[in-house]
Amino acid sequence: MAVAGAETPTLPVTTSLALPWLSVHVSAPSPGVLARVSDALAKYARADGDARRDVAIDVVPATDVTTASARAIAAHATVAYQFVHGHAAADVTTFATVDGSLATLSHATRQITLAVTTEVFDAPYSTWADFVAAPLAELWRDDGCHPLHAASVTHGRHTALIVGASGAGKTTTALALLQAPDSTWRADDKVLLTATGGALRGISLYRNTNVAPATIRAFAALQFAEQRPPLDPTNDKRACLLDEVTDAVDLRAFEPTALIFPSQSGTADSHLSRMDATSVLLRLAGQSPMSSERGRARAHHDLLCRLAAGVPAFVLSAGTDMLHTPAAVATRVFRHLDATTQR
């Protein structure tokens, strides 16, 4: 029998999750809150085989103090995303939602504190996703891991990093290159890059891909995605996991050996043309969101310079053969890489 006036102590609920190069240990005041954070982290890839650094995420109820801080941060933010605003610093990075939830990252202790209001608890998934992602992104950058809007496919000794904006043709190019025998899908849409430890390496950030209706129609392995709802009213792509499309998926870290920037040529045949390092760097920078904190921005820029200077890069002017005869395109692309990147 409970003693009148005494409160039952609430123990935090915890879980641990493996993310690319991170082990995340989450503590929340209730299973419901833990589930929201876990949902926001579920989309990240979790391949084995690489060292991970620990980070703690503690979820606590917002207070008047944290809410006031959050509103002040949102009003004077130096970083603005769609659902969160904040300030990235060398020691403490903060992000806030418009309703007054506050995310604080201590870089020295590798601890993220999420002070959440009831409003953000009821907010759509996209708000939660960014609320959790914003401090994680700064921590990754502090660890020397920087994001790039890119897909990746391995065939033989080549691992192509396919870079471009939404709609540029990254997924379509990756799916075409996968038609070459013994190709492996390494990433789609987002990659983390690092040079920590010496060699340039990348790793898929997410486990999923979003495919456009035209791409679904062109590749038989994607037909199941036609039944899925569009991502949202403004985006008719469909979401699916990479390993729903093919068994040939390897989300472990990789070393890129070629950069490919797809574009649509409107002709019948696809072809590759070499790029100069300056053009490569400028295009990489446009697809690689940077921290506003100078030290991390400088390290990010240096990493992109190393990629631009050290890895051969090509524009892939994609013709209609990319959808009609993708296997032939894949064979031509990898032969071209063989010929132009002799060991």
């Binding site: 603005a80 996703a129 809007h149 760097l281 446009g286 506003s292 240096d302 310079c305």
Partner: protein
């Protein structure tokens, strides 16, 4: 604005990264990229070392005999750097290098005027999400 020799200080927020064709300048504050041609990189690195401009002009005159000094384009380049916020007029004479001499840089067989060109617009500070470089569409 024209700049006189020995009166330029480079912006410390700007990083110069040599690449095969020249170099890229990146302003860490504005997130704006600039392309430098090969001779622009030579001049930038000369200024980065804190060397006064006059010895560079002298080295060019010596290396390219018969070439009019006003065709080297150093003054115009300096003015351009100032106009773009990549440098500012120095209020004091630059400190001479610690070794007391300014070693002439390695020069190409022909001298093209140095050039610095902004690349498009600065990297957007307002993007969709921490990992997505897409700029939000205005409602």
């Amino acid at each position: 604005m024209s700049f006189a020799p020995q009166s330029v200080a480079l912006n410390p927020d700007v990083v110069c990264s040599p690449l095969a064709e020249g170099a890229v300048l990146f302003d860490l504050s504005s997130k704006q990229y600039y392309a430098l041609n090969a001779t622009g990189m030579i001049v930038w690195q000369w200024l980065e070392d804190g060397s006064p401009i006059a010895p560079l002009e002298a080295a060019l005159e010596q290396h390219y005999p018969g070439t009019r000094p006003d065709t080297f384009g150093l003054r115009e380049f300096g003015s351009r750097l100032i106009d773009l916020g990549l440098a500012e007029p120095a209020t004091a004479s630059p400190v001479a290098p610690a070794n007391g001499t300014s070693e002439a840089p390695s020069l190409p067989s022909t001298w093209a005027p140095p050039d610095v060109t902004p690349h498009g617009r600065p990297l957007s500070k307002v993007i969709l999400s921490p990992f997505d470089p897409t700029v939000p569409v205005p409602e």
